[in-house]
């Protein structure tokens, strides 16, 4: 099969790889019909997430049709499925509490040690997202092996096009969970840093969850325009002092909740971010946490901080004093995708939301390298890239 593979920092190549087969009884094999490049794929592309090896197949946003099933799979051949990016067994303590992205059993034992050293405990498995999360082959390929196929994939109706369903695999539930983690009360003012795909779905979700106002912060005019079209009030960090602007826009109180939808590769020319960039470049640190620092400083006293943005290391200058003294609550985590997909699918079926507005470019899988390069370097136009194998 053809698959988009990692060949080194900044190098993606579509290569011929062996077709996947059924390995375990609960497995299924799907033929991918649509797959997308995620903002967090760029962390792998840029080499800031460790544990990615040459020839690893990338991609964790994908959907397709069932091609083969193992003995214990409940899927049937030909069914159409969206596959959540966090792999879970469905039976461990964490899964029983619907904390699917914390599953105890989905990361192969031999891949658990590095994450356990870095984070205290091993992580759950994820598709195409380094050996820290199991080393599973990703979905930017013609075929994918799906473990635990009796509980993991979401079976979707045949009459809804891929474009409206694909983002149930990651970014739509991620935006939804980010808004839920902000514990929005009706009428609240929410500030969202980052108007990339996750940020835009966070804005959409915040309004669905009864936010009164959403302030969208980014430095890319095209993305700010999309945020504005969703009803948010745009603020360009290149032109404005963010802390001052947020105080002014909220009557001196500050946002009720702040959401960092940027993560470990924040942009901007602040002193802390320049220091982070230098540390990241020379390998002394992984995270450029400027946005998280700013969001914590901007949040009102007693407010909530939600972090869907991906971090992987130990950020310096973390404003712990502001967290404590203002009595903030912090909630974060990889998305428990499958907990939210039934509700979100229902909203798509009822036309309450249509996630396909996000798609800016469609490419064949063979152009994956071009897709990655432009998605990273031309963010004003390349909002979301969807590929067809």
């Amino acid at each position: 099969m053809r698959a988009a593979t990692f060949q080194g920092k900044g190098t993606i190549d579509v290569r011929h790889m062996p077709d996947p087969k059924i390995v375990n009884p609960r497995d299924a094999i799907i033929e991918v019909t649509s797959t997308a490049i995620c903002g967090s794929d760029l962390h792998l592309y840029d080499g800031v997430i460790p544990g990615v090896e040459k020839d690893d197949i990338l991609g964790h946003e994908f959907m397709g049709r069932v091609l083969d099933v193992g003995r214990d799979s409940t899927l049937t051949i030909g069914q159409r499925v969206v596959v959540p990016f966090t792999i879970f067994c469905g039976h461990c303590f964490q899964c029983s509490e619907q904390r699917y992205s914390a599953c105890d059993n989905s990361c192969p034992v031999e891949e658990q040690e590095v994450a356990e050293k870095a984070f205290g405990y091993p992580l759950a498995g994820m598709f195409g997202y380094s050996h820290l999360t199991g080393g599973y082959a990703g979905g930017q390929a013609e075929y994918v092996r799906i473990p635990y196929s009796d509980v993991l994939p979401l079976v979707v109706p045949d009459d809804i096009p891929d474009d409206r369903l694909l983002f149930l695999s990651d970014i739509l539930p991620t935006g939804w969970m980010a808004a839920l983690n902000a514990e929005i009360e009706p009428g609240d003012t929410i500030a969202v840093w980052g108007c990339g795909p996750v940020g835009l779905f966070t804005i959409l979700s915040a309004f669905q969850q009864k936010a009164g106002r959403v302030i969208a912060i980014d430095g890319v005019p095209g993305r700010l325009a999309m945020a504005e079209s969703l009803g948010a009030e745009p603020v360009n960090f290149h032109e404005t002092d963010i802390l001052d602007a947020l105080k002014q826009m909220t009557g001196g109180v500050g946002p009720d909740a702040v959401i960092d939808a940027v993560g470990m590769e924040a942009h901007g020319f602040s002193i802390d971010n320049i220091a982070d960039k230098i540390k990241q470049t020379v390998g002394m640190g992984q995270d450029r946490a400027h946005v998280l620092r700013q969001a914590i400083m901007a949040c009102r006293k007693g407010g909530r901080v939600s972090v869907p943005g991906v971090y992987g290391g130990k950020a310096d200058l973390f404003p712990l004093g502001a967290m404590m003294q203002k009595g903030l609550q912090l909630r974060t985590g990889q998305t428990h995708v499958r907990r939210y997909t039934d509700e979100l699918l229902d909203m798509i079926e009822r036309d309450v939301i249509d996630p396909s507005f996000l798609i800016s470019h469609r490419l064949p899988l063979d152009d994956a390298a071009k897709g990655y390069r432009n998605f990273r370097d031309h963010q004003d136009e390349w909002i979301k890239v969807v590929m067809q194998p």
Partner: protein, 204 residues
Amino acid sequence: MNLANWARYGLAATLATAAGGVLFYKRQPHANRDAAPARSARHVRRFGDYRVTGATVSIRATADQIIDCWQNDATLWPQLEYLPFPEGNQDDLLLPPAELRAMASVPMRIRIVTRREGELIAWRSEGEGQADMHGRLRLSDNGSKGIAVEVIMAVRPPHFASALKTEAMMAEALELGLLRDLRRMKMLIEAGEIATAKMRPDAA
């Protein structure tokens, strides 16, 4: 009091303090006097010549299901690295997995010495193997998280490994191996299969 007296009394006080310290130390219970090293908590790390190590997981299953998997699930045994497992129909014997066998210079025989239903199984090695080993698997209730399964093994390493660094490396490998073994057992019991990222069965 002149300077000589100060020196005399000072010396006496120092000697008395040292003697008291020695007496106090002698009265303390010492781990290395324990006749059954593996029953102590593994954070002690050492009992005389023995290195103590182990691992713990919680499994959502009954104690009987866990013991049943360990004793009877033949799909588990080839995956084990250090956790001994029952040897066919010989009830009181356990078979050491390959990695554990490699620690001894001659074949190792392991016999179950204590069995408390649903709670504890303890074993020790017999014979002329250079690596003497005690171990136990203990089950205890961990509420909604299931049953806590703890394996502790105390190993007196072979002579060539008694140099401290080699011994530490051996203990580290043993601890990691036991943790992997327990996690494989947890996967098999809870999820019905052992997770793998391999794409094809011939490579699994």
